[in-house]
Symmetry: C2
Subunit: 136 residues, 2 copies
């Protein structure tokens, strides 16, 4: 299972967008996510590195850098997962075995396809789509 940083990141961005008039501090966001403000700031730090939000010490709250329609879920996913692969492949299969010596390459081909399929679906959805579902 992929950790909750991704879903919390989407939550954070949704809240910032929906509170565009008010000030979305890490404390307020933490109240909505129901966690510790440091957890929010930690993820906020990743979202800043990815140029999705802005904010900093002394300035209360975060704000979006782009419009919700311009932020895809893939942007958010990449921001919080770094360059990690979706599927782990076991490290040291036996190179003296016909299967062992080439299984990693074979796995990489197939599993990368699956990862790309997922990422393409995330790229089709934006923060705006999430926000539109919020009134459900």
């Amino acid at each position: 299972m992929i950790n909750t940083r991704f879903s919390v990141a989407i939550h954070i961005l949704s809240l910032i967008a929906s509170e565009a008039n008010r000030v979305a501090t890490s404390d307020i966001i933490a109240g909505s996510v129901n966690t510790n403000p440091v957890v929010i700031r930690r993820i906020g730090s990743l979202l800043k590195k990815a140029q999705l939000i802005q904010g900093g010490p002394g300035v209360a709250g975060y704000s979006l850098v782009k419009q919700p329609e311009e932020i895809t879920l893939l942007d958010i996913y990449k921001a919080v997962t770094d360059e990690k692969e979706l599927f782990a492949i076991h490290e040291k299969p036996n190179p003296n075995c016909d299967v062992g010596k080439s299984i990693q390459t074979a796995l990489d081909i197939s599993l990368t396809r699956a990862q790309l399929a997922m990422e393409q679906e995330l790229a089709k959805q934006t923060l705006q789509d999430i926000i539109e579902h919020l009134t459900d």
Copy 2:
């Protein structure tokens, strides 16, 4: 990251298929995967529950129940991941907040789509495809 059970399971099945004439014991498979035989038997147990292989105490080795063309990577994925969701969603957002009260539903809609996209890609590939890539 999804754990290595999935990739090890594919390795196990590939080895059983490619050694169809010889006896694929947990010890031999462990030698190819380069791990402990119990790890193999543990995953083997899951593959048996999913009706992908057969074998048991007293009988040396495992054998495939279906042909490699009939085993999709999704079958294997489901066998080793149980019914767990791909993406974790944070548990207790604040129900007194407009975003918090409906974010889980919104996330579920979007993330389930991404998971399905990945699963559909896995369903398109079979154990036979992996085996064909092995000679690379």
